[in-house]
C-alpha cells in the first residue's frame, strides 16, 4: 500500500516530537513541515514551507497535522479540508464554539478523515478504564477527580500559553484532554458547570478549577495548576464507583491502584489493566497496575497508535477514527462554559456581624 504523505503545520517542540514518534512507522512519511521562522540547516529531504497555505496546496500531501497554537486551528483545518486533505488537529479543536462548528460544517459530507489529538484515548490504561466503566463491574461511576499540578518552568511570561486570545486559557488548552476522558467514561451528559480561575498577575491565569455535574449524578472536578517546580509535577485521576475506587497517576497515565468489591469471577475487565497485580482480601480486592516503560515511550506509542488509526480510516472507508470532531466539540463546549463561569462566577462571601475579618 502506498505510504501516506504527512505535512506538519506548526513545527515547534511538539510538532518535532510527533515527527520523531512517527518516523518508526513504515506506513507514512512526513514530507513537509511549515514553520514561520526557519532554523538554519534545513531538514534534508523534507520540504519546509514558511507559509502554511503552501503546505496545504502541496499536491503530494495526504494528511495535514495541525500543531500550531490553538487559535489558528480552525482556519488551517478548514483550508486543509477544502484542499481535500485529511486532518489531525492538536487539541483543543478550536478556541471558540463557532470556530469549532465551522470545522465540523466544512468537514460534513467530505470523504476525508478528520480527528482531534486526544492522545490519552490510545493509552492502554485509559483503554482498559473505559471498558471497565462501561462493563458496570464496579457499579455506577460517581466521581471523576483530576488533580494536575504542572510545572511552569518552561513557560516564561511571553509564552503564548498565557495569552488567552491565542491559547484559550487553561480550561480550553489543557483541561479538554480530561473533559474528553470523563465524557468517554460515562453515557451521562453534563448538566451544570461551575468554575473558578486564579490569576497570579493580570497576565497569568495559573490555576483553574471546574466542577461538572452530569445527568446521572456523576460529579467531575478538573483542577489544573501551572505553578510547580518541575520536580513536583503531579497528575492524578481518581474514579470512584459504588463498588470500587481507581486512581491513576501521571498525565500520561503510567500506573495506578484500585480497590474493588467484586467476586473473583467478575474481575475480567479489571484484569485487562496492563500489569494488573491483585491481592484478594476478605470481601474485596486491592490491585496495582502499570506500564513498565518511560513516559516518553508511552507518549510516542500513543502518537503512533493514533496515527495508525487515522491511516486505517484513510485506507478503509467505513473505519471511523476513535476520536471524532464531535468529541472535540463536546469537550470544548464544557471547557468554554467553565471559562465563562470562572469569569462571571462571582459569589461574594456573605459577611456577618460576628465573622472576624
Amino acid at each position: 500500500m502506498p505510504q501516506i504523505k504527512v505535512g506538519i503545520i506548526g513545527y515547534g517542540a511538539f510538532g518535532r516530537f510527533l515527527h520523531q514518534a512517527w518516523e518508526k512507522l513504515p506506513d507514512l512519511a512526513v514530507t513537509a513541515v511549515s514553520k514561520r521562522r526557519l532554523q538554519p540547516g534545513g531538514l534534508g529531504a523534507i520540504k519546509v514551507y514558511p507559509h502554511w497555505p503552501d503546505l496545504i496546496n502541496d499536491p503530494a500531501i495526504d494528511l495535514v497535522v495541525i500543531a500550531t497554537p490553538p487559535n489558528l486551528h480552525a482556519e488551517i483545518a478548514c483550508a486543509a479540508l477544502k484542499a481535500s486533505k485529511h486532518i489531525l488537529i492538536e487539541k483543543p479543536l478550536a478556541t471558540t464554539i463557532s470556530a469549532a462548528e465551522q470545522i465540523i460544517r466544512t468537514a460534513e459530507g467530505l470523504p476525508l478523515v478528520a480527528s482531534v489529538n486526544f492522545i490519552l484515548r490510545y493509552n492502554p490504561i485509559v483503554e482498559a478504564l473505559i471498558a471497565i466503566c462501561h462493563s458496570g463491574v464496579l457499579g455506577q461511576l460517581r466521581r471523576f477527580a483530576v488533580e494536575n499540578y504542572a510545572s511552569d518552568s518552561g513557560l516564561p511570561l511571553d509564552h503564548w500559553f498565557w495569552d488567552q486570545e491565542v491559547s484559550g486559557g487553561i480550561f480550553i488548552e489543557h483541561a479538554v484532554h480530561f473533559i474528553d476522558l470523563a465524557n468517554q467514561l460515562t453515557d451521562q451528559h453534563p448538566v451544570a458547570v461551575t468554575a473558578f480561575a486564579h490569576r497570579r498577575n493580570p497576565r497569568q491565569e495559573d490555576q483553574v478549577l471546574a466542577s461538572v455535574l452530569y445527568s446521572g449524578g456523576l460529579m467531575a472536578t478538573h483542577y489544573h495548576h501551572f505553578a510547580r517546580p518541575h520536580h513536583l509535577e503531579e497528575t492524578s485521576i481518581r474514579l470512584s464507583f459504588d463498588r470500587g475506587q481507581i486512581e491513576i497517576s501521571g498525565w500520561i497515565p503510567l500506573a495506578g491502584k484500585l480497590v474493588a468489591m467484586v467476586d473473583p469471577d467478575e474481575i475480567g475487565p479489571l484484569a485487562a489493566l496492563p500489569g494488573f497485580k491483585a491481592t484478594a482480601e476478605p470481601g474485596h480486592l486491592t490491585a496495582t497496575f502499570g506500564i513498565n516503560r518511560s513516559k516518553e515511550e508511552i507518549y510516542a506509542d500513543c502518537a503512533r497508535a493514533l496515527m495508525m488509526d487515522l491511516i486505517t480510516a484513510i485506507r478503509r472507508p467505513g473505519h471511523r477514527p476513535r476520536v471524532t470532531l464531535a468529541d472535540g466539540l463536546s469537550s470544548l463546549l464544557t471547557a468554554v462554559q467553565a471559562r465563562e463561569a470562572s469569569r462571571q462566577g462571582s459569589h461574594p462571601v456573605v459577611r456577618t456581624n460576628g465573622a472576624p475579618g
Binding site: 510545572s151 518552568s153 500559553f161 449524578g217 518541575h230 513536583l232 470512584s240 459569589h347 461574594p348
Partner: protein, 390 residues
C-alpha cells in the same frame, strides 16, 4: 481543684460517645444527661437524667453543657445554657443558619460564658503539626486543599434526621464544616468565591455534595462528600498542595499520611513536627532530571539564570537542597485518636475557666466562620440543582 461538672444534652450515639471519651478524666465529672427518649437513660444511677433539656440547665450541679443534639436545635439550647450561666461546648455545626449562629455569638459576648464548637480535628497531633508547617510556610504557600470523603450510609436509614435539611442543614453544613474549618486552621487567607454543587438520589435524599472555595492569593479548596458507600469501604483523603510539596492525609480522623517535598536543611528539620515521620527517600535536587516536558513547551531561558539549588515556580525563587519522600502517622487506632482529641479539647476549654487569659485552640468565631462558607455553598448548590433541572 475540684473537677468541673459536665452535663450532656442529646444522649444518642454521639452523646454517649462523648461520655465514654470523657469518663475517667480527673478534670471533669459527667453529672447529668438529658434526652427526650427515656430509653437513653444512663445505667449509672449517680448521673441525673432529664427528659427535658431545660431541666438540665436549671441543675446547679452542672458547670458546662455539651450539646450533642441534632444541628437545628444547637442555637436555642446554647443560648439558653449561656443565659443560665453555663459554659457550653457545641457539637458542630454551630447552628444551621447564620442568624442562629450570630445569636449564639451575641449571647456568649453578653453573658461572658465560655463557648466553643467541637472542632476536635484541631486537637489531632497530625493536624497540629501540619498547621504549624503550613502557617510557617515551611513548604512555601498553600495553594490547594482537596477533601475527598466517601462515607457510608449503612447506618443512615432514609428516616434519619441526617437527610432532613431543616434539621441537619444538609451535608455541607452538617459535615463539611469540619474540613472548611481545617482549611482555616492551615491558612489565614480570606474567602472570595464560593460555589456548591449537589446531587439528590431519586428518593430526594441529598447524598453527594461538592463545594469549591477560592481564597485570596490563589488558595483553592474543594470539599467533596458522598454518603453512598458500604461501611467498610469508607475512605477520606485530604490533600494539601504547597508550592514546594504535597501532603496527603488518610482517614477522616487523620491517622497517617505521606508527603513529597523540596526542602533545605531547616525545612527538612521542621518536617519532624509531623508525628512518626519516616523519610523514605531523599535525593539531592542536582540529581533530579526534568521529566516534565515531553511536549517541550517554550524555552527555558529563565531557568538558565537559576543557580544550583534554586527552583522557581509562580515567579518565586526558592532555595532548596533535597527532594524528600516521607510517611508519618499516629501510633493509635481511630477510636483512640478520636477520644484523645475530644479529651484535649475539653481540657483546653476548661483551662480558660481558671485562667481567663488562656485562648483555646477553637472558638465560637471559628464555628461561625466555617458555617458562613457552608451556608453559602449550600445555597449556591441548591441553585445549581434548579439549573440542572431546567
Amino acid at each position: 481543684m475540684s473537677a468541673y461538672r459536665v452535663g450532656i444534652i442529646g444522649y444518642g450515639g454521639f452523646g454517649q460517645f462523648l461520655h465514654h471519651a470523657w469518663a475517667g478524666m480527673s478534670e471533669v465529672t459527667i453529672t447529668a444527661v438529658a434526652d427526650q427518649n427515656p430509653v437513653n437513660r444512663p445505667r449509672d444511677e449517680r448521673i441525673k437524667f432529664y427528659q427535658h433539656w431545660e431541666e438540665l440547665l436549671r441543675d446547679q450541679g452542672v458547670d458546662l453543657v455539651a450539646i450533642a443534639t441534632p444541628p437545628a436545635t444547637h442555637a436555642a439550647i446554647a443560648c439558653a445554657a449561656l443565659e443560665a450561666g453555663k459554659h457550653v461546648l457545641i457539637e458542630k455545626p454551630l447552628a444551621t443558619t447564620i442568624a442562629d449562629a450570630e445569636r449564639v455569638v451575641e449571647t456568649q459576648r453578653r453573658t461572658g460564658g465560655l463557648a466553643a464548637v467541637d472542632y476536635m480535628l484541631r486537637y489531632n497531633p497530625l493536624v497540629v503539626g501540619l498547621a504549624e508547617l503550613s502557617r510557617e510556610k515551611i513548604l512555601g504557600e498553600l495553594r490547594r486543599v482537596v477533601v475527598e470523603n466517601y462515607a457510608q450510609d449503612e447506618v443512615l436509614p432514609p428516616e434519619h434526621w441526617f437527610w432532613r435539611r431543616e434539621i441537619s442543614g444538609g451535608i455541607l453544613i452538617e459535615h463539611a464544616v469540619h474540613f472548611i474549618d481545617l482549611v482555616h486552621l492551615l491558612s489565614e487567607r480570606t474567602p472570595t468565591l464560593i460555589q456548591g454543587v449537589t446531587h439528590q438520589r431519586s428518593s430526594g435524599q441529598e447524598d453527594i455534595v461538592c463545594a469549591n472555595v477560592v481564597y485570596d492569593n490563589g488558595l483553592i479548596a474543594t470539599h467533596y462528600h458522598s454518603f453512598t458507600r458500604p461501611g467498610f469501604f469508607e475512605r477520606t483523603t485530604i490533600r494539601l498542595g504547597f508550592d514546594l510539596g504535597e501532603i496527603e492525609l488518610e482517614g477522616w480522623i487523620p491517622l497517617r499520611g505521606h508527603l513529597r517535598a523540596l526542602v533545605d536543611d531547616k525545612a527538612g528539620a521542621e518536617l519532624q513536627k509531623l508525628p512518626g515521620l519516616r523519610v523514605v527517600e531523599a535525593r539531592d535536587v542536582a540529581e533530579l532530571v526534568d521529566e516534565s516536558r515531553p511536549e517541550g513547551w517554550g524555552n527555558t531561558s529563565t531557568e538558565a539564570l537559576l543557580s544550583r539549588g534554586q527552583v522557581q515556580c509562580r515567579g518565586i525563587t526558592y532555595q532548596v537542597e533535597r527532594q524528600v519522600q516521607a510517611e508519618f502517622g499516629l501510633n493509635a487506632s481511630k477510636q483512640e485518636a478520636y477520644t484523645a482529641s475530644l479529651r484535649a479539647l475539653l481540657v483546653d476549654l476548661i483551662k480558660q475557666i481558671s485562667d481567663p487569659s488562656h485562648r483555646p485552640k477553637v472558638s465560637l468565631e471559628d464555628g461561625l466562620k466555617s458555617l458562613v462558607i457552608a451556608v453559602q455553598a449550600a445555597a449556591t448548590a441548591q441553585r445549581s440543582l434548579y439549573d440542572a433541572a431546567d
